[in-house]
Symmetry: C2
Subunit: 340 residues, 2 copies
Amino acid sequence: MASKKRTTIYDIANRLGITPSSVSRALNDKAVNEKTKKLILQTAKEMNYKKNSLASNLRKGESTTIGVVVPRINQNFFSNVIAGIETETYKKGHNLIICQSDESFEKEKKCISMLINQHVNCIITSLSVETNDYQHLQAVLDQDIELIQFDRVADEIESLKVINDNEQASYEAVVHMMKQGYKRIALLEGPQNLEIFRQRKVGYLRALTSHDIAVDNELIKVNAWTKELGAEATRELLSLSEAPDAIFASTSDFSALGVHEVAIEMGFTVPSQLGICGYANEPFTEITRPSITTIDQFSFKMGTAIAELYFEHLNSPETHAAPKVVSIKPELIIRASTSR
Amino acid sequence: MASKKRTTIYDIANRLGITPSSVSRALNDKAVNEKTKKLILQTAKEMNYKKNSLASNLRKGESTTIGVVVPRINQNFFSNVIAGIETETYKKGHNLIICQSDESFEKEKKCISMLINQHVNCIITSLSVETNDYQHLQAVLDQDIELIQFDRVADEIESLKVINDNEQASYEAVVHMMKQGYKRIALLEGPQNLEIFRQRKVGYLRALTSHDIAVDNELIKVNAWTKELGAEATRELLSLSEAPDAIFASTSDFSALGVHEVAIEMGFTVPSQLGICGYANEPFTEITRPSITTIDQFSFKMGTAIAELYFEHLNSPETHAAPKVVSIKPELIIRASTSR
DNA sequence: CTGAAAGCGCTTACAG
DNA sequence: CTGAAAGCGCTTACAG
């Protein structure tokens, strides 16, 4: 049943008494006598021929493979982006090699290196939370491989980018909370080596200052980007003599979930005594009671936008002028946790 | 900056006045004079050499690439399995090409075909809900490519398999509900072309009959495997003159979520008037109020088990005797929705 | 330890 | 339209 050796175009050529050149041409739909072409295609099917893309790509000096490196494959935001990318690349027969950095800078570097070896013709990546140096991204460009950064991007690396307007989204979220009457709005911020978290903080600060509210550093909690860290920060915040009446978990919905649980645990009523806003529109934010206000990043759409950018640049002449940056406007999803 | 042409072992050989053979040997840590080896490695680094795995794999007639086809990349269960696989394969430098069938039989076939062309040396797959014919899987075996099926497997295809004991898990779930005093337990079943859904139904039936409870076909709802379909089926069930007092959404937690919502909407108190049990231990089952009893499939562990199976067979002599089947015992997670 | 040569499976200018 | 030949970048028996 299982044949140790796969059928090649030589096998087909031998059987038909023609040259491999013609077989190759027929298989690739190039100019070949119609009758012979038909015969070749039929014979290929009979002999169970499967093209060897490795050989083909090697010869052509190109590949149809794209590398993807994300912090976590099994995190809603990233798996949605990947699903979006796959939906588009599949249509054109391009493949995705997917790695996860596990939020580790070391693993991220190794993954990128592996992908370069694999001769992918594009690397799509979102940085790990530890990443603070971008030589590995520069190395990608140096090998003349297309680079597309998304969401967690390194500004200083000149590559294609697909991002959200994090600052504006945060600004709007905080303004919304102020309009709901919240007076002391705390911020849970993410690791500031990542651009996205810096931008979200800027949005928060801009919202306060543009409404003549003084920034109180006591209300800003560093590195509260997981559920556990969000919970811990909340415990501290709600124990302050002048506790906040709202918390913007700018890092993630997981962090917001931590806030939510601690608030209930400490007897604060949401949203009347405490407003909560998260980030990312994870599915569970709709399910908690009260449901959590958050920001939708259109992750699946980010994925399709990335794929579109890729194909656009695959065909276009090297317009290394100014790498394109696509910004997708996130949307504030107002739910019960901030509606009073 | 960007070099159109990548450095090859020839470039290194020329620079050093030696042959490509030696360069290749040095790079692959084969027997080479220590001094030359050092020199070669250093030069490779200087010249920014990156191995071309395509060429290497082609020459060696093997590859370190594994193909994965799952129904949905962005579904918790599958993304966890993938994360588990990646964690193990990464350690040994093997890559994952990932495709999603989108629950479409047609796309599944095309993905498998693409992966064969890509010369992957293993295909890992979980069938789409539409799949009712397995020629495409047989084709994988015919090309002498290792095949590992998981979760949604085709019994008749003799391949490696990693599965849950669905029947036993369902049996235990239903017995648990009976012990909680539920008398009329309904079943939401999945498409019966898939083995897993057949097994879950068998477990349900076995639980009833082994406890001398007559099976009431009115309480068995077909194809209720999404949230919407689960909700619809629940509406019908709860409108019966003799409505059920518990619903086992054997298809998925999404379906159970539909049950949950309709129950509340129709004024049934959970768990006192209606017990609910789902399947898969999706994160949100812990967050609903009341929380939902479900079955944990240890998805991440399934992933690592799959990878282990792969590496085991990579080295072992072709033991085509009886393809190994690894069964991972799922665990009933008892929560509020069935605790009265 | 090292070199010369062949070959993995394919594609593509170059002739005819 | 078709064939003969070279070559993508690498690895590996075969000699020495």
